[in-house]
Amino acid sequence: MAEASPGTPGNVLEKLFIRMGVLPVLMVLALIVFSLMSEQFLRIDNLVNLVRQSVYLILVSLGQMLALVTGGFDLSVGTILAVTSVVSAIVMAHFFGADPNAVWFAISIGCFAGLLAGAAVGVVNGLGVAYLGVSPFIMTLGTQSVGFGIALLITGGVPVSGLPGELSETLGFGRILGVPIPILVTAAVAVMFYILMTRTARGSYLLAVGGNPKAAALSGVNVRTTLLVAYVLCALVTAVSGLLLTARVESGEANIGGTMALESIAACVIGGVSLRGGIGRVENVVLGAIFIVLVQNGMNLSEVGSYLQMIVLGTLLIIAVIADQIRHRMIAGGVGL
């Protein structure tokens, strides 16, 4: 792939399209449109703000990418956020209430409980998909509803309050050397994911299982384990996002997940992850997630109403999927990578 690509500019564009999907085109378009519509858009503080807002979606999209490259997807990411938020907040509030001096103990055990609860949803998804052969669509649609119901049930639909202020001072708004902690956490996770996908056997296995499960099995890959790993890691990284969000809003919320499933799938597909599995790059997914937040940010600044925003987001997803189809046809049709 490092081959120089001699040839016409059209040829180069075609190769770029095959490698990265529609993202570069959409990114340029969005930047032009929004900088024309709003003067604030291109200001440094807005762009920094934009990256900080993006971290939650970036984390979830990285998880979503794992499910997508194995040829499935995870519709339950919103629920995982909710379960993580609610469980961590309840546990944290409980221990903080019992002993207000043990702030860090309460925060640690709360975070741990939240990660565990989120990962549990992933284990259920993974077992269903890998070992019982349930289609990822139905499996995660089911856990999406079950998990959300549980989160509402244990909170009665009311936000969980009484969290230590230290939580939001660190994980929510804290900075180290001037860099917001959520950005540092996300950067660390993204680097780990990059290593996972490019430098470990498991990363290749995830892609291979999505590309051709039979060929993967005959190449010595344990397909079931690999699928389980995909859904558990997806849930775990989503749970990290859930903790950061909880710290940001300073309460445990069951309604925190919202449109995360749609947005994360859109971010991945726009970032060139194939819905057929087998293809996906960490760096492009990060850019895809930033792009989604950028569009939302730009629309907010341009005072586009939230109803219209829903329309735009859905349309973007469909455009990205169509582009994915075209890209696939081009690969199959003989345009080299």
Binding site: N212, A217, L218, G278
Partner: protein, 504 residues
């Protein structure tokens, strides 16, 4: 051979162009009443193009099709069927969720007052099946039928109206020998009734068995039409490939060493029973038999793809009876699957990534347990060079490579892990003759370099010319073994078709 105006179907200089390719180039072909005319040639030689034109699937660029002396234009499959031409392709055109009867008369329900008369339909279906002596329940859903039964439905469709020309495209590819016998009986009946059969097959033994004449195609051109019974196999292969036998098949020196694989009394969920074989270093062991006879299934059970239900497998002295593919690969047994697109390759991956896949855990770990890019590069380059894969193809997605290059990538996966035993399941399916002889040379190098090779193949000449020892499988077990000079077509076929003995 009577070639006259009474030929059922005749083509004159039939030509079909696709953008950039002459798929069929001026082919003259004829089919006499009561004749079975075999089409023989490699993949891409033009067999499929010819039958697609005759069955009305595609229309010729130039040339004529005559039926009983009169020129016809077959605009569609339906059109061809009206002329009495019916084709059974390898891809069946059946609706799996409908019943046998519904499929038989699909598009021809002759409704009464706009409604389908189910009872009449079932009665017509029963009549048709009884007439053909097909033991099929017209009320069964097609999805519940075996492949052979589905093929029977497909053939029966041709008999809805008067059948004059039946086209069969590798009909025995997935039939058991008993089902094959039944098909041959049916073909004899069709002949007796004065209809003709165009029969595509890759199997030499079938050519002499059912064929009257053979037309050999190569690169879209007709090489010649010869008598099916009187022409030797070697001659047919030479016509097909344009090379002499000795140019295709290298002579491999046998140098049997220590025992690599010992299989004893093996049975599997896929129908293998009480099968025992031994393979040593430095020898090529052929595994021949009809499709469905268990030759592929036996090796899949050994490799751990199918569950072993009884018996034992020892590899290099270690018991590996229930080992999974991952473990077998680590121990040095490589299995090359027969269908490279379905099971062999991750098409979206580059050739390099495919070659590296089985070696990731065992050979490519570097510092901190992470994969070493340098080692991956070295390993894939070496393996790629051994199979003569061009450097520029190594970085391309496998999906865009030719069938021959894809097969080379598949071989390279095994070379990458430097296996001790190579189990090659139909290793040259669908590759051109140039690649084929390159792969045979590779087998020679592996064997003479001290590895063991198991050659599972439905291509009998391949088995005959390359193997030092041959096991023949029948009905899921080993029917017999032949060595050296005893490896010839007659002795192997004897084992293929041997009458079933009374239950052992």
């Amino acid at each position: 051979m009577p070639v006259s105006a009474s030929d059922l179907i005749e083509t004159v200089a039939l030509t079909k162009h696709y953008p950039g390719v002459k798929a069929l180039d001026g082919v003259d072909f004829s089919l006499a009443p009561g004749e079975v005319h075999v089409l023989f040639g490699e993949n891409g030689a033009g067999k499929s193009t010819l039958i697609n034109l005759l069955a009305g699937v595609n229309q010729p660029t130039s040339g004529q099709i005559l039926m009983e002396g009169r020129e016809v234009r077959l605009h569609s499959v339906l059109d061809a069927r009206k002329h009495g031409v019916s084709a059974v392709f390898q891809e069946f055109s059946l609706v799996p969720t409908l019943t046998v009867a519904e499929n038989l008369f699909l598009g021809d329900e002759s409704p009464r007052h706009g409604f389908i008369d189910r009872r009449a339909l079932a009665a017509r279906a029963r009549e048709l099946l009884a007439d053909l002596q097909f033991d099929l329940d017209p009320a069964r859903r097609v999805s519940t039928l075996s492949r052979a039964e589905q093929q029977m439905v497909e053939i029966a469709k041709g008999f809805r109206s008067r059948l004059r020309v039946l086209i069969l495209d590798e009909p025995t590819a997935s039939l058991t020998d008993r089902e094959t016998e039944r098909l041959f009986t049916l073909i004899a009946r069709i002949q007796a009734e004065g209809a003709g059969v165009i029969y595509i097959t890759h199997r030499m033994q079938e050519i002499a068995r059912v064929g009257d004449r053979v037309t050999v195609l190569r690169d879209g051109r007709k090489i010649g039409t010869v008598d099916a019974k009187a022409t030797s196999e070697d001659r047919l292969i030479e016509m097909m490939t344009g090379r002499t036998i000795s140019e295709i098949y290298p002579t491999i020196a046998a140098n049997p060493g220590e025992i690599l694989l010992e299989v004893e009394g093996l049975a599997s969920g896929a129908g293998v029973r009480d099968a025992s074989i031994t393979v040593r270093r430095g020898e090529v062991v052929g595994l021949a038999g009809l499709v469905g006879s268990g030759k592929s299934e036996l090796m899949r059970a050994v490799f751990g793809v199918d569950r072993v239900t009884a018996g034992s497998v020892r590899f290099k002295g270690v018991d590996v009876t229930h080992a999974r593919p991952g473990e077998m690969l680590r121990r040095g047994l490589f299995y090359l699957p027969p269908d490279r697109k379905a099971e062999g390759l991750v098409l979206a991956f580059t050739a390099r990534a495919n070659i590296a896949l089985p070696a990731l855990r065992s050979k490519l770990k570097g510092r901190f347990g992470l994969l070493s890019g340098k080692r991956r590069e070295a390993l894939t380059r070496t393996a790629g060079q051994q199979v003569e894969l061009a450097e520029r193809n190594a970085g391309r997605a496998v999906a865009v490579l030719s069938g021959g290059n894809q097969q080379k990538v598949l071989f390279a996966k095994g070379l990458g892990i430097n296996a001790d035993l190579y189990v090659l399941d139909e290793p040259t399916v669908g590759v051109d003759v140039g690649t084929r002889s390159a792969l045979y040379t590779l087998i020679k190098r592996l064997c003479e370099g001290g590895a063991g090779v198991v050659l599972v193949s439905s291509d009998l000449p391949e088995v005959l010319h390359l193997s030092h020892r041959v096991y023949v499988t029948r009905l899921g077990t080993i029917a017999g073994e032949r060595h050296g000079a005893d490896i010839n077509e007659a002795s192997l076929l004897g084992l293929f078709f041997e009458r079933e003995r009374t239950a052992a």
